[in-house]
């Protein structure tokens, strides 16, 4: 397969990998060994770990619903799911872009260090949990405990956020256009300054989302959980 992959860009543009005949491992091996080009993953049928561990600038179109851990550990690749994605979409993404045209299940973008995750529909619970630098843009709502222990990066939500948004957050920025059911511990609303409006405008443009940055509110860490309080020493 790898010999075929190094052919011309034109030939690669039509490379179709059909999961009714290939195993997920075979398809992933083909994607991981490609140096570039465009691929279509056909008949994904909700299978797990599709397009995982990609490290080269390949483009992958998953034509249907994906299961768990789709596009995990992504680097440089552009992966688009034309459908919904299961638990752990783009988990630990390092760079590149992962897009979903439908909804994503829980823990989308979990622990991501970089890159961009775009979910056109809703994301469910724990979206961006422990995010470490990734940018996540959600066209709809996010579920409870989103951005839990978020450390760096940006979460943009065009809809509403469920309860306990940003619980125990460190330094990530959270932008929500709709209602927040309840802020998590140590998460507070913050002033939206010009630099944040610029940042948000850029994120929305990169995500391909139409929205006015002025309609969003910004949330972040109150930084009360950073340090051990000596008053609590007696508890140990």
């Amino acid at each position: 397969m790898s010999d075929g992959i190094t052919a011309t860009a034109e030939a690669q543009a039509n490379t179709a990998l059909d999961l009714t005949t290939l195993s997920v491992r075979e398809a992933n091996r083909a994607l991981q060994s490609a140096k570039g080009g465009a691929f279509r993953l056909l008949n994904p049928g909700g299978k797990h770990a599709l397009a995982c561990g990609l490290s080269q600038p390949v483009s992958v179109s998953i034509e249907g619903h994906a299961g768990y851990y789709c596009a995990g550990m992504n680097q440089r690749a552009e992966v688009t799911v034309h459908g919904n994605a299961g638990t752990g979409l783009a988990e630990n993404i390092m760079s590149g872009t992962v897009r979903v045209t439908g909804d994503a299940s829980q823990s989308a973008g979990a622990t991501g260090h970089g890159g961009l995750v775009v979910i056109a529909g809703n994301a469910s619970a724990r979206c961006g949990i422990s995010m470490k630098g990734v940018d996540i843009v959600v066209g709809g709502d996010v579920g409870h405990m989103s951005a839990f222990m978020a450390q760096a990066g940006n979460l943009v939500v065009l809809g509403d956020a469920g309860p306990d948004l940003g619980d125990s957050i460190y330094e990530a920025r959270l932008f929500v256009r709709g209602a927040v059911a309840r802020l998590g511990t140590d998460c507070v609303e913050k002033e939206m300054r010009a630099e944040h409006l610029d940042l948000l405008r850029d994120l929305l443009a990169r995500a391909g989302m139409q929205a006015d940055p002025a309609e969003f509110r910004r949330y972040g860490s109150a930084r009360r959980l950073y340090h051990f309080k000596v008053d609590n020493a007696g508890a140990y």
């Binding site: 909700g46 619903h65 299961g67 299961g86 299940s105 829980q106 619970a125 579920g143």
Partner: protein, 302 residues
């Protein structure tokens, strides 16, 4: 981890294919629960009061049926399938169930009702489905479960579904942390539990609430307050089913609906082979929210 699938057919033209549609769904969930499996089918056609029963190999089913008939005055027919038997009872089904539990301790009464038939076993889920002929079964709706045991032993009777009353049953993915305390409370209220399984406690809890006059919805609202732990529950009723996830919602669930069917599964891949799935509305049920399909006896499931 466990796997759940449920299929509710809106289009009667699909009734003959219920089991054939469900078998691949169950098989797809094998790696979520490879140690045991079970399923409940709601037959179409006229009501046929039935006790779905399990007993050890070599059990004297004709003798038990005769004794049951003598004791209760009901006519009892026996249809044996492997270590299960469907006892067709023309008479008081509740009395027959109670008599069997009280007098024949080798028998586990898995389900009772006019439409429900329940089968369960240990080992490969597809083998369990084959043993009990899932693929050829017809009906209006059904639930199935693949189990990866965490809270109690891998036994046939510890497999799901668990009965929650006439023509109702429950399958569970998750683990309850307060099942021991709840068990004591339920036994004090007169519930008879037949296994050490935490999911059976959830079933008995719903049975107790509905016996006390709750609708299924009210019983599930009470469950949200009293069950502590992780759960995605799917409950079958005579003419529908209900889905409930705990408020933390770690345990997965996907719902899909078309004009012809409603499907529930732990993961989408179990729904993927259904006809017309490409046009289905697909969504993830919200935490702590009760979803129901079907009407009629949903209001008064017990």
């Amino acid at each position: 981890m466990c796997g759940i699938v449920g299929l509710f057919l809106k289009d009667a033209a699909l009734h003959p294919r219920l089991g054939a549609l469900m078998a691949p769904m169950l098989a797809e969930m094998t790696d979520r629960g490879p140690d045991s499996a079970g399923f409940a089918i709601y037959r179409d056609g006229p009501a046929r009061p039935t006790l779905s029963c399990l007993a050890p190999e070599g059990f004297d089913w004709p003798g038990a049926a005769r004794a049951l008939a003598d004791a209760t005055g009901a006519e009892v027919g026996v249809e044996r399938i492997s270590d299960h038997a469907l006892l067709r009872v023309s008479g008081d089904l509740r009395a027959a169930r109670r008599w069997l539990i009280d007098h024949v301790p080798q028998v586990d009464v898995l389900a009772s009702g006019e439409a429900i038939e329940t089968f369960k076993g240990v080992g490969d889920p597809l083998a369990v489905a084959r043993t009990f002929g899932l693929e050829g079964r017809t009906g209006t709706h059904g639930l199935a479960h693949t189990r990866m045991a965490t809270e109690s032993a891998v036994t046939i009777s510890g497999s799901h579904p668990f009965s929650t009353g006439p023509d109702t049953c429950l399958v569970h993915n998750g683990s309850l942390s307060n099942h021991f305390l709840l068990r004591g409370m339920l036994e004090a209220q007169g519930e008879r539990l037949q296994t050490e399984n935490d999911s059976e406690v959830a079933a008995a809890f719903l049975a107790w609430r509905m016996r006390s006059g709750d609708t299924l919805r009210q019983a599930l609202e009470a469950a949200l307050k009293r069950l502590d732990g992780f759960y995605t529950l799917t409950i079958g009723t005579r003419d529908g089913f209900a889905v409930l996830r705990d408020p933390i919602a770690c345990k997965p669930a996907v719902l899909a609906e078309t004009d012809r069917w409603v499907a529930m599964a732990s993961e989408f891949r179990a729904i993927a082979p259904l006809p017309g799935v490409e046009h289905a509305r697909i969504w993830e049920p919200e935490p702590g929210t009760i979803y129901t399909w079907g009407g009629g006896d949903m209001a008064k499931a017990a």
